[in-house]
């Protein structure tokens, strides 16, 4: 019977230590804080949303980004990257029987986006990365939209380690962009660091599959859509700015690019996004965003 008592004790202990948490007020009390600051620099987080116009659940990713912007404002920069099979144009995807003829004609895929899609191993959509940092709760680099807000808040709570500024000049007549990216490290470090500069566009009114609608396709506003890279248009990887052992006091860098904006893009809704990342693990240290004009 001693053994029986031991088992009983074991079971009782298990019950006690596995108590249930009843939540009567689900909402967090108080506002959120973010944008860790140091020397007047605000930490800005990059959220990459991998999506496609044939992806039935991807509008939920866009909604999550809207909520995150409401929570954290401009401390978060979102890029929606159309890539993978769901992003193929209609004829290439094999337009479903019940869809309107000639719908989904646009190919929103980009060379950098396609490269990242393969490099980071996207396997389902929508999935996203926050600063390309693994989720501390499950070590996943690619996370569902329900995880993005938590990850953004965790990243924003960290002190900024770098500053990044974008200075554009844009000629509307020739649609030529000259942009200078400058920055510096806020602490001593070592490694190889790169910047990548891209264009994103808001308010693109085009087709999208949405499984919460009947019928499950519509036309709606695609926002923060990756259009292309300003620095190296045919690559997802950026420009090296710092390497080796780096003293913060001697870490200033500047890079300039000239880029002719595609005539099919609405330059009233274009933004320049630049981010500084560690070339070893691709993790992002700082990001910045300004309007094209």
């Amino acid at each position: 019977m001693n053994l029986l008592k031991t088992i009983g004790l074991f079971a009782g202990l298990a019950m006690l230590t596995t108590s249930c948490d009843y939540v009567s007020v689900p909402q967090q009390v108080g506002g959120t804080t973010g944008g860790g600051q140091d020397s007047g620099v605000t930490r800005v987080v990059l959220l990459e949303d991998y999506t496609g116009h044939f992806c039935p659940n991807c509008p939920r990713g866009a909604e999550a980004i809207d909520s995150i912007h409401t929570l954290f404002g401009d401390d978060v920069i979102a890029i929606s990257i159309h890539a993978g099979d769901f992003a193929k144009p209609g004829p290439e995807y094999g337009l479903p029987v019940n869809y309107p003829p000639n719908s989904f004609p646009e190919d929103f895929r980009t060379t950098p986006g396609n490269e990242w899609n393969v490099y980071f191993g996207l396997f389902a959509y929508p999935l996203g990365m926050v600063n390309r940092v693994p989720n501390p709760t499950n070590t996943n680099l690619l996370n569902l939209n329900s995880e993005w807000a938590t990850m953004v808040s965790l990243e924003l709570a960290k002190a900024p380690t770098a500053d990044l500024q974008i200075a554009p000049t844009y000629n509307s007549g020739t649609r030529t962009l000259n942009v200078t990216i400058s920055g510096e490290m806020l602490q001593d470090t070592s490694g190889t660091f790169m910047i990548k500069t891209v264009l994103v566009e808001d308010s693109i009114y085009e087709w999208q599959v949405d499984n919460e609608l009947t019928p499950d396709y519509t036309q709606y506003y695609h926002n923060h859509m990756l259009r292309g890279a300003v620095d190296f248009p045919n690559s997802g990887w950026g420009d090296q700015v710092l390497s080796g052992t780096i003293a913060a006091t001697q870490s200033s860098f500047t890079k300039s690019y000239t880029y002719v904006v595609n005539n099919n893009w609405d330059d009233d809704h274009l933004y320049i996004v630049s981010f500084l990342y560690d070339d070893a693990n691709k993790q992002i240290l700082q990001a910045a965003k300004v309007k094209l004009k």
């Binding site: 053994l3 008592k5 948490d21 659940n57 396997f123 569902l144």
Partner: protein
Amino acid sequence: MKKSLYLSLLGVAMLTTAFAQDLSKGRISGNFEIDAQYYNPDSAIGAPAVPEKALMNGWGNINYVNGKFSAGVRYESYLNVMQGYDPRNKGTGLPYRFASYNNEDLEITVGSFYEQFGTGLTLRAYEDRGLLYDNALDGVRARFKVRDGLYLKGLWGKQRTFFTTSPGIVRGFDGEINLNEFFANAFDSCKTTVILGGSFVSKYQADQDPSLVLPENVGVSAGRFNIIRGKINFSGEYAYKINDPSTTNGFIYKPGEAIFTSLVYSQKGLGIALSAKRIDNMSYRSDRSATLTAAMINYLPALTRQHTYPLAAFYPYATQPNGEVGWQADIGYKFKKGTKFGGKYGTDIAVNYSAAYGLDTTNLNDENGRRFGYSAAYFSTGEEFFQDINVEISKKISKKLKGTLLYSNIRYNKNVIEGKSGYPIIASHIAVVDIIYRITDDVALRTDLEHLYATEDHGSWAVALVELTMAPHWFVAGIDQYNYGNEHVDERIHYFSTQVGYTRGTNRIALGYGKQRAGIFCVGGVCRFVPASNGFTLVITSSF
């Protein structure tokens, strides 16, 4: 004192005892399987170019048993994982390894293990290697037979998700009492067997959400019964889950519940099974952000017939964990030899009916309040999810010839089951004629002709399969699935595949070539595109 220390010393004792035993007296067994495919791009069916050209899924189990001690490992290698499977399986490793010792009715297992409490409504850790589904627990488990009729189980661990474990910790306890065995004297002359059981499972996952207060400890409890008398077996289980906001349920805080009941009558030549269930918000995972089939702690059975014929299995049902009501009736009858319908060898007939509906819900619009999401009526149903009415007749016609006829009428809600919207219910009629003709004692020819009629989705399909078996070593098979009824003429494609296999003892090698159609797989808020494929396949299996 000696016994009271038993548990705490058991881990050490188990290992020292094992090593103290003569290893040569133990028995080693195992099995091995490798599936590989070479992929050809095929623009006609949309099969993409695969950078690796060829992909492979392989694994091998090695188990050792020596008296009361057993241990085992499974090596798995997916380089890279074949198309159609979750690519997160990519990699190699030893994700499954265990050691177990059973002494004086107490069995302790450390490492990986599978387990089920009751029907699985609270916990079921299991594997299906063909689907690469594996939610084994990694931790410790104790099973104890207290005395005749009283059985206890306890476990503590983390769940496998691909080559890692999910972030949540799972703790569980299950008890079962067989009253007839436990009170042997009192129930000695009782013809009714009564078994009662209960289980409690809790998971822990930290909360770091910036906008919601998420419960870190979420428990599920269940009670069950099983009454057996003669030819009748009546069983049921009820489970209740506290607030468990997750990606699957849209982060609502409504408690979940599930009820399952089954009544079976069985006698020689006749079997009747009636079962029903109601599920409301019962997705239960050890990672609240997991989707698809990852990190599922419990199991919600689908009360539908699992068809094996390709076209009958074309529109399969999957349990909807957020809410459904379902029932099934299954009747099997054998007409005896020498009767009008039985003929010379007898005739088997099986009739099956199953249906699943959504819950009758009312939206509460309380996102900024307690976030229960909806309320559900108990005795009414909502949207139709699925229905299958099928009749199968199997008959041996002569010593050389036997056949099976199947008719199935399936109604399939693509919007719910595949996570889409805007599609009508797909109403399909499927007919199957399966004939096996034994040419000689060692050679048999099987012909399977199938037809699926539908006006929705991809339209109608026809299938022809021919399989020649030359016992004991060889088989050759070819199958053509033709989507002749597709509304788009250029998509009326033949998906042809063929396979040849060689078996010797417990070894089997099969080589094939063929095409597989594309599909979309959506579960729990994310979608995965399973591309079409065209290429050679190789399957090798072996056991010892």
